[in-house]
Subunit: 453 residues, 2 copies
């Protein structure tokens, strides 16, 4: 049993396959529907947007999918990532719980996002694609894809939510350093953007609007493909390398997690760390609790409805079965920009419906309090998104103390906050507040949705 603070794997111990949880789900996720006909769509309907190898992964029911060697090779720039035991945090909380975290912040882009950016760029490259589009909120996803596309010689246009573009210039600079073009969204480059701007010239933008713009550009040019950083099945699939590594590392510690925790935007880092453990719940009768942590200002899992909805604001994407607040929902401008998304991916939504996973919401001030405590005890400054997972890990460690139980808690440290320091500055200056969404606001947004099923 390792007594070390950090548990490493050798590169040759890095998983060579991703895990597809669909193979082990009793209730499979419902199929996506055509936005016009409302009928289930086949793989070919996605062909204008994605290369065929990713579409095959999107609909695959194979349990294991090989990671191409060129992707493994690039992963090894930073993978396998370490698991840390948070001894100093445990001490500060005076808890009997053993707290571990998987450190995905050591990647070039500073988060888990390159785990899917690299295979997505790779499969596009293999199919001869030379230009791609995507959207980004706070910039974590955009910078990861910039790095990946630059490696494979693909030109990338990133539609960045305008409020982030203005408030977070460092992320834009990082994307530029990796050769991408960054466009504040809404823009005049697309019909979707022009429509929003004609209604509201000062629109701060949203992830849903930026997706509409990126999708539109790709759909109109057959040589350009689109890429999404979360929500979709193949994205979640690529992230499972996190949990597959973590399982091996937890084995080395001699502890098995009672609770696995991750923050939740569209579901990819949550899926990444939890699915391999969830597999053992399903197939081996383990009882690990999986907790998705969302912002209280964007509570699709805890207060949304399970129904078909669009992935974007303009209604260009297929309809996806999801827990949603409605695709027109515009959440508060909290600093965890990566979690400001109205819906959850189809797989994760089905798992929540089937009570195989749990969700908790966290208010912004609690997340910053947790992030500062973490930075002061464990040293690494968390991204505001990641602080949602830390806040819930702290909640659970306090419960463990009350119960006097030495539970094992594992959370995903999805990204660092060195490029988001202005958020901490505002927190210390007392400029951040918690805003409670009323049930009325949520119902109003949901009422705009057409009932499909």
């Amino acid at each position: 049993m390792s007594k070390e603070k950090k548990i490493y794997l050798n590169e040759r111990e890095m998983p060579t396959q991703w895990y597809n949880i669909v193979a082990d789900m009793v209730n499979k996720p419902l199929p996506p529907l055509h936005p016009g006909t409302k009928q289930p769509i086949g793989p070919e309907a996605l062909a204008p947007l994605f290369p065929m190898s990713l579409i095959q992964q999107e609909v695959s029911t194979d349990r294991w999918i090989d990671i191409p060697e060129e992707v493994q090779d690039l992963y090894k720039i930073w993978r396998p990532t370490p698991v840390h035991r948070a001894y100093n945090l445990e001490k500060a909380l005076d808890t009997p719980a053993r707290i571990y975290f998987k450190n995905e912040s050591v990647s070039p882009a500073g988060s888990h996002k390159p785990n899917t950016a690299i295979p997505q760029a790779y499969y596009n490259y293999k199919e001869g694609i030379k230009s791609m589009t995507t959207e980004t909120g706070a910039g974590q996803w955009g910078s990861a894809l910039s790095f990946a596309c630059q490696h494979f010689g693909i030109n990338l246009k990133v539609f960045m939510v305008k409020v982030s573009y203005e408030q977070k210039p460092y992320r834009k600079m990082l994307m530029n350093t990796w050769g991408a073009e960054v466009i504040p969204s809404p823009s005049m480059l697309t019909e979707a953007g022009r429509k929003i701007l004609s209604q509201n010239p000062n629109s701060p933008g949203s992830l849903g609007i930026a997706i509409s713009e990126a999708v539109e550009v790709a759909a109109k040019d057959e040589k350009t493909k689109y890429s999404l950083g979360s929500v979709l099945n193949h994205v979640l699939l690529h992230q499972t390398i996190i949990g597959l590594e973590a399982m091996k590392q937890m084995e080395m510690t001699g502890d098995y997690p009672d609770i696995v925790i991750a923050c939740f935007g569209g579901g990819s880092n949550f899926a990444g760390i939890t699915f391999p453990f969830l597999r053992f719940n399903i197939t081996q009768g383990k009882k690990t609790r999986m907790i998705a942590c969302e912002p209280a200002s964007c509570p699709k899992l805890t207060r949304g409805q399970f129904q078909y909805d669009f992935g974007d604001t303009a209604g260009l994407t297929p309809l996806i079965p999801m827990y949603t607040l409605g695709h027109n929902f515009v959440p508060d401008s909290i600093h965890a920009g990566g979690l400001r998304y109205h819906g959850a991916g189809a797989i994760v939504s089905q798992l929540l419906k089937d009570k195989l996973i749990e969700a908790q919401s966290v208010k912004q001030l609690e997340t910053f309090e947790a992030g500062v405590l973490f930075a002061r005890t464990e040293g690494i400054l968390p991204a505001p998104e990641t602080s949602h997972a830390i806040a819930v890990a702290i909640r659970e460690a306090k419960i463990a103390k009350q119960e006097g139980k030495a539970k094992t808690i594992l959370f995903n440290f999805s990204g660092h906050g060195y490029i988001d320091l202005s958020a901490y500055d505002q927190y210390f200056a007392g400029l951040l507040q918690d805003h409670e969404i009323t049930q009325e606001e949520i119902m109003k947004s949901l009422a705009q949705l057409e009932k499909v099923i």
Copy 2:
């Protein structure tokens, strides 16, 4: 022989002693002199500024000095750090050279600086000190010491060079997150600061001025001690853990470095990676070249003079035997703020004088070109300081290509640049220039020095 891209050590393989090169130097460094009497000072003269255990290390000739267990314990938050093989950079340069780098950017503060910040805070804490002062240029050192002091319950005042305070707000925010007070220097809090401001109310500050302020505050209050992030013998000593780890890791690769490279401000990261290898040059007849890389705009090693000079601008510190441009020299406002220091530490200066190490200077544009190539090939965005080492590693890899020799090059990746992204932005916008210092400017600055020896 490892074929992995990253070579890790286990925590139990982390060195438990620092290496003191003074024990192996044939020509020992000359002693510091009292600024008034010009006579060699004894350890007691440093007592107002430093705790006794650090003063003992400052004058020690013991070859090995134990790392206290509490320091080892904190080191293990991120140490041992990995050595990476830069395969993608090698490929981009089409060089037969094998390029390795020691990645010190994985620390909480993002650089090698915590290696000495932690023991310095620890020894002060052990001697009952509750408040400390320091200075910082670009902010790497200040943030490292903030983290360390916060852990040991010590209040810290950081005098930050005013131009950096204004241009690099993120570093200030990081120091605040770790509980430190940050004061733009020159300030009205000290005589030294007031004197500068009375002459030039718009002074942008300099490292020399900030040192004067921090030293003055500590000297006037017997309960407050001062801490320096480079130059001094005990600081270099603490950094040797870098090279001691790297030796073990290079052994695992089967390669032994022909060249070891590091950027150079006051000498600490350079000493850290080179001294353990230099020991084998001295004691085992190895022929590894050690190259210190300084900015062409602050060329103390390549164009300065070896003589006694002050460590600060106001002349409050002891006189140190050093390669210097004169303590009144104000270098260009380049982005590598950590390298804008007029002098070199006593040990490193003696080694250069004895031709046991080499130096090269690099212009700013060449460093950014190197930094961007590195970010695009190896993924990690380097600090502008670190890019000086990368630029020289690239020069040497190109020479290896011309010569057709498969040389082994190791450089210290001293810090990441995610908090310095605005510098990259200016580079891409074409706003950075190279400024050539004339020999006349250097001679004029040196002419102001009093000849002591």
